[in-house]
Symmetry: C2
Subunit: 192 residues, 2 copies
Amino acid sequence: MPKPNVRDQLITASLATLHRKGFNATSVQDITDAAGVPKGSFYNHFASKEALGVEVVRLYSEGAAQLDASVDDPALPPLERVRRSFAAKVDANVKAEFACGCLLGNFSTELSAQSEPIRQEVSASYAGWAAWLQALFTQARQEGALAADEDTAELAQAAIDAWQGAVLRSKAEHSRAPLDRFMKTLNTRFLR
Amino acid sequence: MPKPNVRDQLITASLATLHRKGFNATSVQDITDAAGVPKGSFYNHFASKEALGVEVVRLYSEGAAQLDASVDDPALPPLERVRRSFAAKVDANVKAEFACGCLLGNFSTELSAQSEPIRQEVSASYAGWAAWLQALFTQARQEGALAADEDTAELAQAAIDAWQGAVLRSKAEHSRAPLDRFMKTLNTRFLR
């Protein structure tokens, strides 16, 4: 029986490599090297690199949602929670020197036509993120912080789209300017 | 001396494959197969797959700018030219069944940390696109179709960011909804 902790170790250790190098440029050897386990042990735990990729998307999404604990504070105004959630993502991208981008965005462009299981997991992550944003936007609308006729489901999706584009550009330009531009767009064009 | 037409043939034939499969998932063999030339001839024309990638970005950008000839018509209102340019990109993505996305966006996420020559060519393509949009936005501002205090350089970049995010989501969701959402966002949040 494979030890469950080696499986978790492979998922955790491969996240940083897959985030930085992408899926197709990362070999199983890279992953087992990162995890400090023998290459041969990989297939005791995963049927394929793709199967690991699905788990990595899940782990990444959980971590991305927890970058700033204060976004879960119900005492804060809902739009402030939204702003803080994106500001925490800006900080994470600055810290990574714009070399990684968002794993969801990276896998969206690289793997959507290549791996249906990974595409579905990425899509599920977007859906969870959109639901979280929509709930906050709906609360803000109820409190009068957004217009009464605002379509909060569409607003949540549009904010995620704009964020993904900003992170992609930030990676391409090696610059924080697109991220700062996003925060300004969020405040002046979306949350009004 | 290598024949120049084989070089062009390699660039043209590899564009569709690199657009659909991505850079790292496409082998030199895939490229020579697509071009119908012997594998061994590749390195007579390119020092590396990366060198070909730079040329493919250039060819793609030229083609993307010419999807709808009417966008060059100076008799049309500038914002109409902008709308048509994005509408033509929506049509191209629908036709591709959302399997390809934008080559610039794909290479932004996949290759920015891997290939500095390709990143620079992608960045140059964005710069050219932004300059084109900015000129039209500035004309629209002069004609009173945009607010007098609109920062047209920022607006051009923000529109590209939002478009890239929408295409990325469209690829991830296999859906035109993000593209339609972008057109609505463009009209109601950006061009006002």
